[in-house]
Symmetry: C2
Subunit: 269 residues, 2 copies
Amino acid sequence: MTRQQLFENITKKESFLCIGLDTDIQKIPEHLLTEKDPIFEFNKQIIDATHKYAVAYKPNTAFYEAQGAKGWESLQKTLEYIPKDIFTIADAKRADIGNTSAMYARAFFENMNFDSVTVAPYMGSDSVKPFLGFDNKWVIILAATSNPGGSDFQHLTVDGDKFYEKVIKTSQEWGSEDSIMYVVGATRPEALKEIRKIIPNHFLLIPGVGAQGGDLKTVCENGLNKECGLLINSSRGIIYADGGQHFAKEAVREAEKIQAEMAKILKGL
Amino acid sequence: MTRQQLFENITKKESFLCIGLDTDIQKIPEHLLTEKDPIFEFNKQIIDATHKYAVAYKPNTAFYEAQGAKGWESLQKTLEYIPKDIFTIADAKRADIGNTSAMYARAFFENMNFDSVTVAPYMGSDSVKPFLGFDNKWVIILAATSNPGGSDFQHLTVDGDKFYEKVIKTSQEWGSEDSIMYVVGATRPEALKEIRKIIPNHFLLIPGVGAQGGDLKTVCENGLNKECGLLINSSRGIIYADGGQHFAKEAVREAEKIQAEMAKILKGL
């Protein structure tokens, strides 16, 4: 998917909501556990219920790997089930030496046809570049993550920059705003503001709204650009809004609530 | 496996060789492609041939994921096939927010019973700690990696330290020399020397000998400690020593050659 197509979808749906499919077998409603593939069945019902309100889905690979080969099948089926006009993110946080990153790129872009994959920057250029050789595919590089440990290294000062700023500046040489996005946690509004000065046009993937405590309005004040430029993710807040029979109905209620807020914000662009 | 058990195995086998099972379907001998599970069949024959000379095996998950659910099955079968006295490393370079890292830990330590998993430090403490709550399991944190891009960030200066030194110093608070190892590339002998001043006792996993150009003797001069303290990995140099019918025979020849050098080095301890 191109940046233009993504922005068109945002405009059409009046939403920049990404729904995180962090589907944990230990948290899904009990009545689904008798299904042949409970994880896929859960995702299917969540997608059916929420796809009108979302422009992106983001399965986190950890939750599928925790189920072994069977989980990998659930992931593949989920990806195939997502409507084709919705941006898909393999939240995998991969990266390795060049020939190995090329294997990960094959896994997520060729075998599974995800639109994008999240990548950890620690190993540098040749660990990220193999993901950049695919038309209309995206690399989403971790910059300032939402978790408490994000401060351990990312906020240290290097050559007068925060480390996450250094990551952003250095990675500008690897690709463009048409191939790279960055992860900036909703719990880091001050970082978001500074990051927008460096990359005014890039899309940012913003986790941490909802369960992790980030606030939608604050994020938009600091991060929105003229083509939106934000994909705001909520995982647990939507998919586990209700733990029982009504999980899909409650998920759609949560998604709709966020989308309504987003529609208002987009009117101001 | 405990540190003591690992050192006993090293002493017994006169080897600190780790063999990387980076098994690429596009590189294995053609005659295996008619097998039901060519990747497992390749690994099985490599393990049969080389296990006398190795104290550790390190499958890199990328090569298995590139085959989807089927690859994940090959990985599980491979792990089960490795003799129980051999240390196993899931070279996965994972890490995510706390609840998600806990899922990865479940995948590699509970569902698959690996002895250890490699972890990227960028997301900090709560992304690594979930891997540390398992008896006799190990986290292997990326410090100074062997690839060219390793210099992009890891060798920058932060508070008077190289960034990889900062990672090592900070992570001392998360676990001990009985639960944490570090990755230091064989292509970084100067880093290795400095790292040994900070952590004289920890085990280090050293990739980059062989195909990537690192040298065994130089590594040992800079990194060996009184309980060996090194696991030196070779992947492509061993498993693809021959691309045809004789791949296992040539792999054992390469492994034996490295082990013989290691035996000599260990005598000097």
